[in-house]
């Protein structure tokens, strides 16, 4: 099973606390901190932009169907302050993203963590 889509409904108070409290916008209105997903896929696009940097990655479902997910990261400027660059990930990289699911039901998450295939963490450290 290539796709790991796990929705954790319990014990998320800690996660809510880990989400940066100060943001360009109120993240909680768009993304549901009580619905956390963990997805593994291949990066198809990187947008090194403000007010949020974004990665798009292709995740294969149980039925073999590939879905492109839109991952909202922190602001580019916030990430740059922590030393990340547009080259911290590349198209074709396999990453595992854990984050809050978009409330609207679209394939979008606000990232809590992004792990590369070697287990290293990228894009942490910025305030959204």
């Amino acid at each position: 099973m290539k796709t790991k889509l796990a929705v954790f409904l319990a014990g998320l108070a800690l996660f809510a606390m880990a989400v940066p409290a100060v943001a360009h916008h109120a993240v909680g209105a768009e993304y549901d901190a009580s619905k956390v997903v963990k997805l593994t896929g291949t990066i198809s696009k990187v947008e090194w932009t403000n007010p949020h940097a974004r990665i798009y990655f292709d995740v294969k479902g149980d039925d073999g169907k590939v879905t492109t997910w839109n991952v909202e990261l922190a602001a580019r400027s916030a990430l740059v302050r922590q030393g990340w660059t547009a080259n911290s990930v590349k198209i074709g990289d396999t990453v595992t993203v854990e984050g809050s699911l978009a409330r609207s039901g679209v394939s979008g998450v606000n990232a809590r963590s992004v792990l590369k295939a070697d287990g290293s963490k990228v894009f942490s450290g910025g305030d959204n």
Partner: protein, 274 residues
């Protein structure tokens, strides 16, 4: 009670910093930044220009204004500000939710609001003496405030704007900024505290130490609040290697486009004209 309020205000200020610190540990530069943040604000002496004036331009600042809640973050008691609101203002605020705020649409934050991103005070120099102070905000959006320091008065005819018409002067070691001529479009905070074009603000910026600055802010808007009220915010100097960065909010702002079903954009203004 007062002590409780101070504790609440300090907590409100520190929580985002603590949360941010907890979130910074994995970044390649996080070690340096983390060490500086752990050390806390520099309690050293206030730096001064050769003429003795307090130097506000030697670094970039964060904080010093509200984001989530003007009342709570300004150190007021719960309900203290809201009790001063005129009925129409209360009714308008009751219709607002944070998804509608202009800030989400990359519109300016207004005064005294701040963002998670830093700002810098820049004083100009001329062949006579400084005449203008600018406050350059990285986000959201790239915004500059222009404060006339040459002794001029506010014009009789005001063309209402997001950031108003500001005149400034030093009162001993405090930079006093007096602003009128605001439009009614921005929200003071995510709760949606409104105002009118009659808004008059007075900011009293006092650098307490090298790393800390106080903004004592007076909100005077007879169109929306029954009497003026003063609140206090604290700004923190960022680590010395920090600089303003480019932040073009309009470049890729996807707020609400796919994530908020039925999102109809920001609620701007709606305050009655005077």
């Amino acid at each position: 009670m007062k002590r409780l309020l101070v504790v609440c205000a300090v907590t409100a200020l520190l929580v985002p910093l603590v949360v941010q610190s907890a979130f910074t540990q994995a970044g390649p530069e996080a070690g340096k930044v983390q060490a500086l943040r752990r050390a806390g604000p520099d309690k050293g002496p206030v730096p001064r220009l050769p003429d003795g004036t307090v130097d506000l331009g030697d670094g970039v600042w964060t904080g010093g204004g509200p984001v989530q809640d003007l009342e709570a973050q300004g150190g007021l008691k719960k309900g203290e500000l809201d009790a001063l609101m005129l009925p129409w203002a209360k009714a308008l605020m009751a219709t607002r939710d944070e998804t509608q705020e202009p800030h989400n649409a990359c519109l300016p934050m207004g005064v005294p609001r701040v963002t998670p991103f830093p700002y810098r005070f820049i004083q100009n120099y001329t062949h006579k003496k400084p005449t203008h102070m600018f406050i350059l905000h990285e986000g959201n959006i790239h915004t500059y405030r222009q404060i006339f320091m040459d002794g001029r008065k506010h014009p009789a005819e005001l063309d209402s704007t997001w950031l108003g018409h500001s005149i400034g002067a030093w009162e001993k070691d405090t930079l006093v900024i007096d602003t009128v001529g605001y439009n009614d479009k921005f929200w003071f905070d995510r709760r949606g505290h409104p105002h009118t074009e009659q808004l008059h603000t007075i900011e009293r910026w006092t650098r307490l130490t090298k790393g800390e600055m106080e903004n004592k802010f007076t909100l005077d808007d007879p169109g929306a609040y029954t009497k003026p009220i003063t609140m206090t915010f604290k700004a923190i100097l960022m680590p010395p290697q920090d600089e303003l960065l480019e932040y073009i909010c309009q470049e890729n702002n996807q707020y609400g486009v796919q994530t908020l079903p039925g999102y109809s954009g920001p609620q701007i203004g709606n305050a009655p004209k005077k």
